[in-house]
């Protein structure tokens, strides 16, 4: 993969931090709005719609509006200050002022009352918007934008219609006709539409968490998600009002409490890298302990609080990213639907590694940055480790190919000898014999022909040995069990043979097993001074095990004995393992395990 195609860390939309003055001005405005909201001495109209949409005692309402306004505005400001890249802070501020505006319905000023009524159903929609936009402040899909657009239309657009129909008392400046029944119908439509929006938002949140796969950054997202229950409560509350049923007090208070605490939860969720500072410090300590390369991923995952974190290392010679085992890793291209985000870690202009992580981490660039910086040397070690593994894999692959090519070539040679020279020599033997029989009267010539025949027979024997050494044709033609029987019968000691393969194996494996047994038996004859041996060949769980046990003197040396070394090479070339137990005086047990695919 060319370097240019590698997705790079998103960081271009780093909006400049808001100016200090703006922050202070907004903070003061928020506080003033809160104070005003609390001070409105609920001049509630005893008549009209207020009685129907009864939401609580005036004092409680006043305090609640004040608290919501102040908490959303201030939390939004803090979020904006520390997370200028995220639009979530500004969104919270808007919500705070939106709630304040909705509270203006409680005033007696015509203008303020009218403004308040235009937006009085806005807060539930704003809450839904917040939940859906956490933590980036952006809505991730067109579907969501459409859902909210409908909700906003219902909240504000229909509100204007309703206000024209009157029924809100004397302060309504927009009243055109007095049709309170029609207004009530519109109100119900609004409440139902907004309830549906809230429930829709909840469904989206649940689906999103489902499709996120492994639990991402568990604790915080769970915390935020739990507040989404507020959306359900809003929906219940609004529907009960729309149906004219009495609002259930417990639900009402729980809704207020949930929505009141929510801004703090949002703020914690956004700013949790403040809390993460200590985890970076822990990471530095942990990495100083020089952890094994596979543990580096776990350490980084802990520091970033992303258990699903994956590490990929850049191998310049291979031109690709690999995991710690050297297996190629494809980096996902960034996009709105990307399940994983990618952060590249480069040093001195060269790729070192890539972090594949929860996209939510994109909102904590400092955390990512400091973790990446702290992991520098450890990542370099991991990269070397991965490179080694990749090279080993490559080597193993090429060794297997060489073995296979060698075997193919040997098989071809055996076949050529069998079909060519050997057949001709047999035919020649026969020809000589027939010739010899035809020469009735010449004993000298007959003797010379007989001599020639013996020479040919000897050549044939020698050729046969060569051909069999090249490739045991009986293995390919008739299978391992048939071939091993001859080996066992000709073994230097009595042999008990057991073959349980349940079918043929790949030829490479059959031939390797054949030679393994042949050489083991030859070794037993030469060194073991054994009185008997057992050979067991079996297939278990996708592996072929070959065990050759004798009761000889033991003490076989895997390193010095070139025979055993050769066997080990043969087994390892097929990605298998050979182990030898040979205690002095305790016999020799040789066990090979070879992967056989199925």
């Amino acid at each position: 993969m060319p370097a240019s195609a590698v997705p790079t860390a998103e960081g271009t939309d780093d909006t400049a931090a808001p100016s200090r003055w703006v922050i202070w001005a907004l903070a003061l405005a928020g506080l003033a709005a809160g104070a005003y909201s609390a001070s409105i001495d609920a001049a509630v109209d005893p008549t009209g719609e207020q009685a129907e949409a009864d939401v609580g005692e005036p004092l409680v309402i006043a305090v609640l509006f004040a608290w919501l306004t102040v908490s959303y505005v201030l939390c939004g400001l803090i979020a904006w200050w520390y997370r200028p890249a995220s639009r979530f802070g500004p969104l919270m501020i808007v919500v705070g002022f939106g709630i304040f505006s909705a509270g203006l319905t409680r005033t007696t000023s015509d203008v303020l009352f009218t403004i308040g009524h235009v937006v009085d159903l806005l807060p539930p929609v704003l809450f839904a918007h917040l939940f859906l936009a956490f933590p980036t402040g952006r809505l991730q899909s067109g579907r969501l934008r459409a859902l909210l657009a409908v909700a906003y239309l219902a909240a504000i657009g229909l509100d204007l219609v309703r206000m024209m129909l009157g029924g809100l008392g004397p302060h309504n400046l927009l009243e055109v006709v007095a049709a309170p029944d029609a207004a009530r119908v519109v109100l119900r439509a609004q409440l139902v539409a907004i309830s549906v929006t809230c429930l829709g938002a909840l469904v989206v949140l649940v689906l999103r968490r489902r499709s996120a796969g492994p639990p991402l950054r568990r604790t915080l997202t769970a915390l935020i998600a739990s507040f989404a229950i507020g959306l359900v409560m809003i929906a219940v509350l609004l529907v009960s009002v729309a149906l004219g049923a009495p609002a259930i007090a417990q639900i009402r208070w729980a809704t207020f409490a949930t929505l009141g605490v929510a801004p703090v939860a949002f703020l914690i969720g956004l700013l949790n890298d403040r809390l993460a500072r200590s985890s970076v410090a822990e990471l530095v300590l942990e990495l100083q302990g020089d952890p094994a390369p596979p543990d580096v991923r776990d350490a980084l995952g802990r520091a970033l609080r992303d258990p699903s974190l994956e590490l990929a290392y850049w191998l310049p010679d291979f031109g690709r990213y690999v995991d710690i085992e050297g297996r190629p890793v494809e980096l996902e291209r960034p996009g709105p639907d990307a399940v994983r985000a990618t952060t590249l870690i480069d040093r001195d202009g060269a790729h070192v590694a890539a972090l594949l992580h929860d996209p939510a981490l994109k909102d904590e660039p400092e955390l990512l940055g400091s973790v990446a910086a702290a992991a520098g040397i450890a990542l370099e070690n991991g990269r070397l480790h991965a490179e080694l593994r990749a090279r080993l894999d490559e080597l193993r692959g090429s060794r297997a190919r060489i073995v296979e090519a060698g075997q193919r070539e040997r098989k071809r040679l055996e076949r050529d000898l069998h079909d060519g020279a050997q057949q001709r020599l047999v035919a020649l033997l026969l020809e000589l014999k027939l010739l010899e029989e035809g020469l009735q009267g010449d004993p000298a010539a007959r003797a010379r022909l007989d001599q020639a025949r013996r020479e040919v027979a000897t050549s044939l024997d020698e050729l046969r040995d060569v051909a069999r050494g090249l490739h045991p044709a009986v293995v390919s033609g008739h299978g391992l069990e048939v071939a091993l029987e001859q080996l066992a019968a000709r073994a230097p000691v009595p042999v008990r043979l057991s073959v349980e393969l349940g079918g043929r194996l790949p030829e490479l494996l059959e031939v390797a097993t054949f030679y393994l047994v042949a050489e083991s038996l030859a070794n037993i004859g030469k060194h073991a001074a054994a009185s008997s041996a057992t050979i067991e060949v079996a297939r278990v769980d996708g592996r072929v095990t070959v065990e050759v046990v004798d009761d000889g003197i033991g003490g076989a040396d895997t390193e010095r004995g070139s025979g055993l070394r050769g066997l080990a090479d043969r087994v390892e070339a097929l990605d298998g393992r050979l182990r030898v137990w040979s205690p002095s005086g305790g016999g020799t047990r040789l066990r090979a395990e070879l992967p056989c695919g199925s």
Binding site: H418, Q422, Q423, V426, V474, H478, L484, E485, R490
Partner: protein
């Protein structure tokens, strides 16, 4: 005596045809593939089929499979398998059920013309022909507490020839002794190995082979 031959080497096939013809056997068909062999046997079952163990197209086990099929479907047709290599396991596959009308020989044996023709005749008439290498492999097989060690050298010779499928007369000719003497040796051998006597000569071969193989 009707013979069919399946051998893909032209030189060898023609040599065999000539050799058998000269010795009074009637080669009624010859072919290069297992398929053709099975067709020849189906069209007119011969007394014996001589089959190269490796036949086209893959030269792996086609010949052997054809031999086993003929053994199973035409019990009256003798089957003599020829091979460049002698494999105990293959011989035992061929002789697993019985040794009657079955043979397994190394190709070189062809040049020992008289012996070879005798082997072909034996197999054609329900006897057997087992390569000396198979027999010597079995005899050399090490056993714990080996009863074979109780045999005299002469008894061993007789056992070896008997196991190759030779008749008492054949053994007697080979060792230049009388048939009566061979019979005496045979009953002594069966005694020492604890094998039941009786049955025809070819049944006795299987008994000996199975004994040696165990």
């Amino acid at each position: 005596m009707r013979v069919v031959i399946a051998e893909d080497s032209v030189l060898l096939r023609e040599g065999l045809e000539r050799l058998l013809g000269e010795h009074g056997l009637d080669v009624v068909g010859s072919c290069q593939t297992a398929q053709d062999l099975l067709r020849l046997v189906r069209n007119g079952p011969p007394d014996v089929a001589i089959v190269d163990i490796r036949l086209p197209p893959t030269h792996s086990d086609e010949g052997m499979r054809a031999a086993l099929e003929i053994r199973a479907r035409y019990p009256d047709v003798g089957v003599l398998v020829l091979s460049q290599y002698v494999e105990l396991g293959l011989a035992m596959q061929l002789l697993a059920e019985s040794t009657e009308g079955a043979g397994y020989l190394l190709k070189d044996r062809i040049s020992d013309v008289h012996d070879f023709v005798a082997a072909v005749r034996r197999v054609a008439t329900g006897g057997s022909a087992i390569d000396p290498i198979i027999v010597s492999t079995l005899l050399s097989k090490r056993r714990a507490d080996d009863p074979l060690s109780r045999l005299t050298p002469r008894e061993r010779d007789v056992l070896e020839l008997m196991a190759q499928g030779r008749s008492n007369q054949g053994v007697a000719d080979r060792l230049v002794i009388t048939v009566r003497a061979v019979e005496k040796y045979v009953s002594s051998i069966f005694d020492k190995l604890g094998l039941p006597t009786g049955g025809g000569e070819s049944r006795r071969v299987l008994a000996v082979l199975l004994y040696l193989r165990s």
